[in-house]
């Protein structure tokens, strides 16, 4: 049974671990108010991950991309648009921002999106590609783009 607390080394290893799609199912990128959770796995299939995508109903630009490990541990979370974030040291980070797992804090720390790794966060589809690359998803799931992505 998974534990909700990981050491930083364990979390870093999970983030860096190569990930493949767990099925060949096809998914639609979430439309307004929709969400999607897609299973991923390590190449040896021993470690399981989840890719979560969701989009606001009122604000279509409010898109969340998230990579979970061990069912409930948010390893990486990218918030495009949406609310600002306040770190435990009181520093504030506006959206878009990137949450990264930190030992002892879970996903309570976030930082501005690293510009070299994400080309243009206004382009949701391109950002999904960048996010999958950032999370080392070497075999991405089949996700269909929609008109608003």
């Amino acid at each position: 049974m998974a534990d909700i607390a990981l050491t930083q080394a364990e979390a870093d290893a999970l983030i860096a671990m190569e990930k493949h799609r767990a099925t060949n199912d096809r998914y639609d990128f979430p439309r307004e108010g929709e969400s999607l959770t897609v299973p991923l796995q390590s190449p040896d299939k021993r470690e399981h991950f989840l890719l979560d995508l969701s989009r606001g109903r009122i604000d279509l630009l409010k898109v969340k991309m998230q990579n979970r490990g061990r069912q409930v541990i948010v390893l990486v979370r990218l918030d495009l648009a949406g609310p600002p974030h306040r770190n435990p040291d009181d520093t504030e980070v506006p959206a878009p921002h990137l949450h990264l797992y930190r030992e002892g804090y879970g996903d309570k720390w976030a930082m501005a999106v690293p510009p070299g790794l994400f080309r243009d966060t206004r382009d949701v589809w391109q950002t999904l590609e960048d996010f999958l690359r950032y999370c080392n998803v070497a075999q991405p799931p089949h996700i269909e783009r929609d008109l608003f992505t």
Partner: protein
């Protein structure tokens, strides 16, 4: 002193106001509040005019985020907990969105209720499965300690096959009772019962012949399926529903 506190409260009110931001999104007004969710993101709600008053909503974010944090709300017990939480704040569920209607007179109160409901539902994350598993284990530890039942936690035995099996607790042999091995099962189902049975079958031959196995079954979330009880009994693992734990207290304490 009371003046100092009053001054501090005034500063707090000013800060709450300062940290509230408004933005027009189509016919809605987005309200960014000073409250943080469990990710440390500011909680946002939306308001628009409706029926001479206002409708306020979280736009479905709270439950969507909860489900995408591994806390499914499918079970009847969780649905009841959700309903009870929302009822307490007079908040309705509309297509997974938390929603209230407000008049100009009660706008502040209803907005506050919606925010409290969002934060309360947000906390239901702590019901996510692995969290509950660790809490159930902690409950068992607390109960054993309370009743002065002496145990060794997390004991590993190498089975007949050479595989190692980790058991939650071992209570050593006493003058009156043999060795007792206890495994907790947070979600009793066929798979978890099978895994305990296999571990016990492999282990019992390398333990003293009168050694006994117990499975403590969490029935707080949902009732234990009869098949699980039967399977455990068939392989000489004594099933104990957590709600019936007092029935074995003396047996374990001896």
């Amino acid at each position: 002193m009371i003046q100092d506190i009053q001054r501090l409260l005034d500063t707090y009110h000013a800060w709450l106001k300062d940290k509230t931001a408004l933005r027009q999104v189509d016919d809605w007004v987005e309200i960014t509040t000073p409250y943080l969710d469990r990710h440390n993101d500011y909680v946002q709600i939306y308001a628009k005019r409706a029926n001479g008053g206002y409708v306020l909503t979280d736009d479905g974010y709270t439950i969507q985020d909860l489900e995408q944090s591994g806390c499914k709300l499918e079970s009847q017990k969780r649905q009841e907990l959700l309903r009870m939480t929302l009822n307490g704040f007079g908040v309705r569920l509309e297509d997974k969105a938390l929603q209230v209607h407000a008049s100009p007179e009660n706008f502040a109160l209803r907005k506050h209720n919606l925010l409290q409901a969002i934060l309360a539902v947000n906390d239901m994350f702590y019901l996510a499965q692995p969290t509950v598993a660790s809490l159930f284990y902690e409950d068992v530890v607390a109960w054993l300690d309370l009743h002065e039942i002496r145990y060794t936690p997390k004991v590993k035995f190498t089975g007949k096959t050479g595989y190692d099996h980790l058991f939650d607790f071992v209570i050593p042999k006493s003058r009156r009772q043999p060795e007792r091995i206890i495994q907790t099962i947070n979600r009793p189902n066929r798979d978890t019962a099978q895994s305990v049975v296999l571990a016990w079958i492999d282990t019992k031959e390398v333990r003293p012949p009168d050694s006994r196995a117990y499975a403590l079954l969490n029935d707080g979330e949902q009732p234990v399926p009869q098949g699980v009880v039967d399977a455990l009994r068939n392989y000489e693992v004594k099933p104990i529903a957590w709600s019936q734990r007092d029935n074995v207290r003396e047996e374990l304490a001896a």
